[in-house]
Symmetry: C2
Subunit: 186 residues, 2 copies
């Protein structure tokens, strides 16, 4: 019996494991056990080992945000794109039950391995959000401050809702942030 995987099938499964266990906490044995895949397959798709696996996951996450969040913020109707951001972010992070892998990597020494990818992810998020806010009528300084506040607020809401084990905290925080944005944009 031989189940054939593709690299693209494995990346989302890896993402969930890295999310739950962190980079250091994710061991190859836990990967093989949870995915049901052997080391042979794993190193066939990711010759660079654990580092390449985490890198592929980061690239996948980045790609999702670029397509679903950043591009609409840069190109689409500003108010609609911002409104869509709140709902898409709430869905993506499963109302706070899922964490942000990039944010988690930023907190410990894993940051050193992926500092470029981590920095890029947040820079582009803030820039795209600032672009939308300016098109919605904010001044550049106001937009920059609000964009940082929004992205940081989302990250903090993830920490808080997990710490309190209460998904309502996340949804409520997003709602509060959305109201703040609305009040500034009018």
């Amino acid at each position: 019996m031989k189940t054939v995987y593709e690299r693209a099938d494995i990346v989302p499964l890896l993402a969930e494991i890295f999310r739950e266990l962190g980079y250091e906490g994710t061991s190859l044995s836990r990967i093989t056990e949870r995915i049901g895949i052997g080391k042979g397959s794993l190193y066939h798709f990711f010759p660079g080992g654990k580092q390449e696996m985490a890198g592929a996951v980061l690239a996948d996450v980045d790609g999702w945000f670029e397509h679903a969040i950043y591009q609409p913020l840069r190109k689409d109707d500003a108010r609609e794109a911002i409104a869509a951001m709140w709902t898409n972010v709430n869905d993506y992070f499963r109302s706070g039950r899922r964490i942000c892998l990039v944010g988690a990597f930023a907190l410990d020494e894993t940051r050193e391995r992926f500092s470029a990818e981590i920095g890029d992810y947040f820079i582009r998020w803030i820039d795209a959000l600032r672009s939308a806010l300016m098109r919605a009528g904010c001044s550049e300084g106001e937009a920059q401050t609000l964009a940082e506040e929004g992205v940081a607020g989302i990250q903090g809401a993830l920490v808080l809702s997990r710490a309190l084990d209460d998904r309502m905290v996340f949804t409520r925080s997003l709602d509060t942030l959305a109201k703040r944005f609305d009040s500034v944009m009018r």
Copy 2:
């Protein structure tokens, strides 16, 4: 030659290591190497091993916040205590170069080991902040929302400033939060 340590001397050193490396990333060999202490001493003070070390660090952190942040928020002049919170938090987290150990533990499976301590730390922070906000004139609902926003904002600012490797982001975020609090409290 024999350098005599006390448990109380070691805890802050352990805290810095757990902060940088995370729970899983902190190995006993890195502890002994960085502190310059042998395993004998380590297990003499912490017979419960790594778990007890991290627990002692969490208790130490919690004690500092209780004394320096929570109690003033509950007892002292509300506006002064909130103002002091921003400056003390900025100092404690070294303008974002230091992370919040409790927040970091909340993000990965380490949460399962210390869920009670982690939840307690944030619950008490939010409660103390809400108490101060209500004494400063906020309604209960307004105070609860703002307290959650403040604590989450601090955690998010830590993630963001580390991700961007820019300490100005942290100081600026605290400043923005402080201004928001001021505008609501008037």
